[in-house]
Symmetry: C2
Subunit: 144 residues, 2 copies
């Protein structure tokens, strides 16, 4: 800012000197004043835009985009494969790495029940292993 100010002052003095010596008599004062006004208006505008550009850079950016969608089960595929709610529930627990026994404990049913559910589930998913069932479930968007 200080630099700009002093530079402007020098420029003014210079211009004034030149003008006074050579043109003050050649052209009417209106031309002189107009030119001066134009020059300084341009100068001011230039400086203004310059500082404007600087400001432009400083502007902060704060935008968040979604990263994970909420996930919804593909109900169409569920019905298509005739997978019951209970079976889907068990698929989810299988995907969490729980054993049949643990699933039974969590759902307050016997391990045998879990086995029947998972067995039917595997049939419907075309899986023969639980890891396979998990993979299929993710592919079919039945589990996140």
């Amino acid at each position: 800012m200080l630099l700009y100010g002093s530079l402007g002052g020098v420029l003014i003095a210079l211009l004034k000197y030149i003008e006074y010596q050579h043109f003050v008599r050649a052209y009417p004062a209106e031309i002189y004043g107009g030119a001066l006004a134009l020059i300084f208006a341009a100068l001011g505008l230039w400086f203004g835009l310059r500082s404007a550009k600087a400001k432009e850079v400083v502007v902060l950016k704060e935008v968040r985009v979604r990263h994970d969608e909420p996930f919804v089960v593909d109900v169409a595929k569920l019905e298509e494969l005739a997978i019951t709610p209970r079976e889907l529930e068990i698929l989810g627990l299988i995907a969490e790495g729980l054993s049949n026994r643990e699933i039974g404990e969590r759902l307050f049913v016997s391990e045998n029940t879990v086995k029947t559910h998972s067995s039917r589930l595997f049939q419907k998913l075309g899986a023969s292993r639980r890891t396979q069932a998990v993979q299929r479930g993710k592919e079919l968007e039945l589990i996140p």
Copy 2:
């Protein structure tokens, strides 16, 4: 822009007229010129800053798309857990739902070998089931 231009022109004319009529004799030309320069410099600066503010708003733009990353294994965690390349490979195949036998066939090794690898893998991952290992592997970004 046009509006500003014409306004500036009118202003110039007005100023010139007033000056010519009253001050041309009262003060030396330097003062007159200096004042004019100052005024127009300020005017230009003001306009510059004004347009600067407008530009500042435009800059408010941000792209932070992050939906699907290509996925790279977390080498740091791999070393931290001392997981060998072979073990990681087997983890991937487990995640695909393959049985130990199938993994052995695909890698041209015996099922027993697969079992030892997976056994050590489970130890390192703190898993007791393969489904659990898969889950841990995904959490630790060892597999996609």
